[in-house]
Amino acid sequence: MKYLHNIGVYFLMIKDMFRKPTKWSVMRTLILKDIDDLIINSLGIVAFISFFVGGVVAIQTSLNISNPLIPKYLVGFATRQSIILEFAPTFISIIMAGKVGSFITSSIGTMRVTEQIDALEVMGINALNYLVFPKFIALSLYPFIISIAMFLGVLGGLAACVYGGYGTFEDYIQGIQTDFIPFHIVYAFIKTLVFAILLATIPSFYGYYMKGGALEVGKASTTSFVWTSVVIILANYFLTSLLLG
């Protein structure tokens, strides 16, 4: 029953987020700040992880191909498919649930604990619109991060393959061009947009409705990470079944 209640409160929160909009001059500043906090500040870690995971995927694929009948360009093909279909949209989203999600939960949760949200409400400001809506808009740029992750993942695979001696530049390039289906990119970006909505709203829900003190802020961040990850994995399964099944 508690889970059903929370799901209901979550959807009401999303509805209330659009009510009583904050003055545009203030909202613009909040959106820009959240773009900086949530998108720009995540680029470094996303680039680093993508590049090296792309490299590892290429090395693993190469090391596991022992049959001489399997073409060498399979390394590039497998890396591209792994990165575009799953690693960039889903794996990076799980990482972002930890980085961005816990930031959102702890910042909103701290505002709750220190009565800053009460202060907004007393002033007659819709705290959900003021706090959550800018994050929702900022994370609509999340596909930008994922496109960088895709590019760097494939590039990391190329670097590991060529400089590690696992294959040639030409084979890898042939691999990433083989059987390319443009819809896979569309599929990846549809998933990314859904994950962006989840990344903005689930951590906000756990921060906004938390009760207690500093210890509970930490607990709420952990719970928020767990549930954001679980919902992303479930959404990934259903979207994949729906779009590719």
Binding site: T22, K23, S25, V26, K33, T110, M111, T114, E115, Q116, D118, A119, E121, V122, M123, G124, I125
Partner: protein, 255 residues
Amino acid sequence: MIEVKDLHKSFGEAHILKGISTNFEKGKTNLIIGQSGSGKTVFLKCLLGLFDYEKGSIAYEGRIISEMKPDEKGNLRAEIGMVFQGSALFDSMTIAENVMFPLRMFTKQSKSEMEDRVDFVLKRVNLPDAHHKMPSEASGGMQKRVAIARAIVNNPKYLFCDEPNSGLDPKTAIVIDNLIQEITDEYQMTTVINSHDMNSVMEIGEKIVFLKDGLKEWEGSKDTIFKTDNKAVTDFVYSSNLFKKVRRMYIEENQ
């Protein structure tokens, strides 16, 4: 003036406010006192419209909260200033930005007009040079003064303070009390203070409402609280030996 009639509020089966009736007068510092768990904070949050209540009414100059439309409630909120127990300053903003916040949200003033107003209120609370500090760089007393500046920057008609002296040393606490009283006189606001601090009761309690177990046990002023025979009030207010002696001396002097 704020008029409260037969106010009831429950959380589940816990009946917190059991029919409070009182009024808070304009231009006066009205104190709500009582032990922890007596319902003071719930009462204050009902007054602020943060909690809905089941029965009774709260009227601001005759405007009953529960009968207001959302835009009327919004207009009323713009007339309210609030000083929270922990100051509730926005961490990510400087002190000047915190004070300017209500002006940015609710007025169409130009930036220079807003800056002038912020300068004025920061001077009024004796913080003329604190503009660029972050709240984390300010002491507890400074944070309270910034919270007062933010509460009064938009010329509110009503000022609410939740334990404004908690966590402050006695000297700073008196400074904050005096500041609240001066501002109340100056702007002729209706000020309601939720307090545990007996110094505040004696210093600025122009009207005092004593709550016990969700009921109004007693009401009076700093002058009448010395003379009251109400045992619950005397047990609470004169719980320390010092205050017992002060009361005895006051009564002896006046006999």
